[in-house]
């Protein structure tokens, strides 16, 4: 296995090297880098030309320039990268640092969301093949990946961003809005859960009443200006996560796992109060440390209470522990919404990855970054979700038609075990390939999303670099996408080994 992975890494490294040579040569030959200066009438034209020639090494042949770039990059092995300078002499490494952090933040968030939503929806549509729900999701998926990215981005800016800001001035629902939203949600939920018409009617009715009353309440107390989740919400969602994950992965009857996840929820609720003072004004290291701690504590609780099913108990308890930590953080962030609104009355501005000169506490700044990332994330997620849903659906249908699924059903296993353990686990193998391939492509695709939303990300680095025939920024962009592609393929190889025991040998 190790040998296999090493060989794959070696091959990808060579491909990356070849790709860098190809891209470098293509970029420097795409146009004349001195075009704008040759046409300019500036007095110091000769000086400017000479200066740029020096910065870009234009007096040297292409292979010397490429070699210079390559030796600079090879210093990355000793953590001392030299990515060269752009045509104005600015160090590309420092440019890349800022650009990569905002782009990766966007792409990683979109990928994670797309994987979770895409896989869940894909499985649901596969289980309910040829239902109204299946047809609607299929249509929406086709619609989403037929959308021109920049077009939908401009629409979102107008209809989601600006209209939301307007609505936020007086965040109430009219009766018509309440009725329509509740009806739509009731229809969707009853279609997803399925069953005979009686059960569907019951689902729809309960959803209708619940959504309508919740919206009326939120509207009446102006919840959206001064939102609060509170202890009760954290407790209910935590318990739901514990019971739900236990039921889904090991079955409700497995008391050991159930009790250990519930104990984790209890520990999480205790620390909800215990750490309140610490996370009122935290720093990133503190928050990340607390998150890791909650994973570890959850894992330990599962490990010691798990008994005969120690491993699933530890894994699920760690998951529940992480959920509790995220819920506590979300509760904290939401409670700062009111003070955030007073700092920034129109919460979503459609340009930039954060508000310049924003002065607020930790949570206010987090909300600011969050408000800025929502719209581009939606754009990127929509497109990926569409393809993940389709792939999961077809991969799930392929697996569910196999003989071993029939065997599993005929020996009396419950439908949950058949779908989750026999079906889903095998369906995950092809999905892993798609996700690994998609990630690097998504960074490339983010070029357009970033342009529409005015982010100073890697897309801008690449686009400006190419427009000005400046190879070093373009190559920095390629370095990040190429490395991401190799890393994701490595992760995919490891995931195969975890999913398919035949590969582990």
């Amino acid at each position: 296995m190790t040998k296999y992975i090493l060989r794959r890494l070696g091959a990808s490294f060579l491909v990356l090297l070849g790709g860098s040579l190809l891209l470098y040569v293509l970029t420097i030959n795409s146009d004349d880098p001195l075009k704008d200066l040759r046409e300019s009438n500036a007095d110091n034209r000769e000086y400017l030309i000479q200066q740029r020639t020096e910065f870009m090494g234009l007096d040297q042949p292409w292979y010397v320039r490429y070699w210079d770039w390559l030796t600079g990059v090879s210093k990355c092995v000793t953590l001392n990268c030299d990515l060269g300078t752009n045509r104005n002499g600015v160090d590309v490494g420092s440019l890349l640092g800022n650009a990569a952090s905002s782009t990766l933040r966007l792409v990683v968030l979109a990928t994670v969301l797309a994987i979770v939503i895409g896989i869940v929806v894909g499985i649901l549509t596969a289980i309910r093949q040829y239902s109204g729900f299946d047809y609607s999701v299929t249509f929406l998926a086709f619609l989403f990946f037929s959308l021109p990215v920049f077009w939908v981005a401009v629409l979102l800016k107008e209809f989601a961003g600006i209209q939301f800001n307007n609505w936020m001035q007086e965040p109430t629902f009219s009766p018509v809005q309440i009725i329509i939203t509740a009806l739509v949600l009731a229809l969707i939920l009853s279609a997803v859960l399925g069953g005979d018409w009686k059960r569907r009617a019951a689902t729809a009715g309960v959803t209708l009443v619940f959504v309508a009353s919740a919206m009326t309440y939120f509207s009446a107390v102006e919840w959206f200006r001064r939102p609060l989740l509170g202890f009760g919400f954290v407790a209910i969602v935590g318990i739901a996560a514990a019971v739900g994950s236990t039921t889904l992965f090991v079955g409700f009857k497995n008391r050991r796992v159930l009790y250990s996840t519930l104990a984790t929820v209890a520990a999480g609720l205790v620390s909800y109060f215990a750490f309140r003072g610490v996370i009122e004004e935290p720093t990133w290291p503190v928050l990340i440390g607390l998150f890791i701690m909650s994973l570890v504590v959850g894992g330990l609780i599962g490990w010691f209470m798990g008994g005969y099913s120690r491993k699933p108990a530890a894994a699920l308890s760690a998951f529940v522990g992480g959920t509790m930590a995220l819920l506590t953080a979300a509760d904290m962030a939401v409670s700062h919404w009111a003070s955030f609104l007073s700092l920034k009355p129109r919460p979503i501005s459609t340009i930039g990855s954060q508000t310049p000169n924003f002065s607020g506490g930790f949570w206010e700044s987090l909300l600011d970054v969050g408000a800025q990332i929502i719209l581009p994330t939606i754009v990127l997620t929509l497109i990926s979700v569409a393809s993940y849903t389709r792939y999961t659906r077809s991969s799930m249908l392929e697996v569910m038609n196999q003989d071993y699924i029939r065997t599993a059903r005929s020996k009396g296993l419950s439908e949950r075990v058949v779908i989750v353990k026999h079906g889903f686990r095998n369906a995950l193998i092809p999905i892993t390939t798609i996700v690994a391939f998609d990630f690097a492509g998504l960074i490339g695709g983010a070029v357009i999303t970033e342009k529409v939303f005015g982010w100073k990300g890697m897309g801008e680095l690449f686009e400006t670099g190419l427009r000005t025939v400046d190879p070093n920024p373009v190559m920095a962009f390629f370095l990040v996408t190429g490395t991401a592609a190799i890393l994701m393929n490595l992760l995919a190889d490891l995931a195969y080994a975890a999913l398919d025991p035949r590969i582990r040998r």
């Binding site: 091959a11 990808s12 060579l14 491909v15 990356l16 070849g18 790709g19 190809l22 891209l23 293509l26 970029t27 030959n29 795409s30 146009d31 093949q129 040829y130 086709f142 619609l143 990946f145 037929s146 959308l147 021109p148 990215v149 920049f150 077009w151 401009v154 107008e158 077809s394 249908l397 392929e398 038609n401 690097a440 492509g441 960074i443 490339g444 695709g445 070029v447 357009i448 342009k451 690449f462 686009e463 190419l466 427009r467 373009v474 962009f477 390629f478 996408t481 190429g482 592609a485």
Partner: protein
Amino acid sequence: MSNSQTPGSDSYSIEAEIPANTKTYSQGQLVFRRFVRHKGAMASLIVLLFITLTAITSIGVGPLPGWWDKDYTRATAVLDGGRPTIGFFSLGEHPFGQDTIGKDYFALVMRGTQISLLVAVTVGVLSTIIGTIIGAVAGYMRGWIESILMRLTDLVIVIPLLALAAVIAKAASDQGVFVLALVLAIVTWTGLARLVRGEVLSLREREFVAAARAVGTSPARIIFKHILPNTIGVIIVSATLSIASAILLETSLSYLGFGVQSPDVSLGLLISQYQNAFLTRPWLFWFPGIMILLIALSINFIGDGLRDAFDPRQNRSKD
């Protein structure tokens, strides 16, 4: 079962097994029947044909005049703020309105549709040919030829599609739309090459290929006459979908400014030119976008219908 009925013996005939009054279908007929029954695909086919015909006949092609009397290059006086005049049963003077300087927007959008469709179809055909040949040769020849071809594929894949397309398109800008289409084809064949190679790898081990080889058939003839016809489903579906993605890729490139260059128009270029007019003249933004959406959506649905027709394993059995 008696010995005389086993396949291969002289007296056996499959026709004798089928009742005389049953109609039989060839593989192609079965695929066609399944495709025609796919409602979404048929509706999409009609929409796509309608759009294509409208785009071609309205403003004409080259020297041939069309039925629409306005030209996409000539500006006239702006009427009623350039608002669109299209109604349910009438087109009016300027159905899609006028742009900021008074050009007829219907003619502009039709011209953009022509260019976008032209680019997309060219890309679809070219990239399918390149991908099929490279994948088939790599899969059939194995050895060092396969290594070289597949490393070449990896090389193209490792550079993000949009980035590679943008770089080559910039180098080849001002050369017209056919060069642009060629550039897009050069970067989009990789997925199909991998698919075809996978198919060929399994097909080349089959008996009919061994038989062909045994009688001394040349590799080229085996690949094109014996193996590729068996992968036609994969190729056709992939070609259809590559047309849809080529439309979107071309619009993205034109949006970034590396694709179709002004004064020529494409749908992506129209949107990027008028995206700031969204609040004042929203129709300049809506019509080209909806056109792209309609074309890409209908091609995707046709591809889905073709996939179901060629590979009905995932469908509830209907035949």
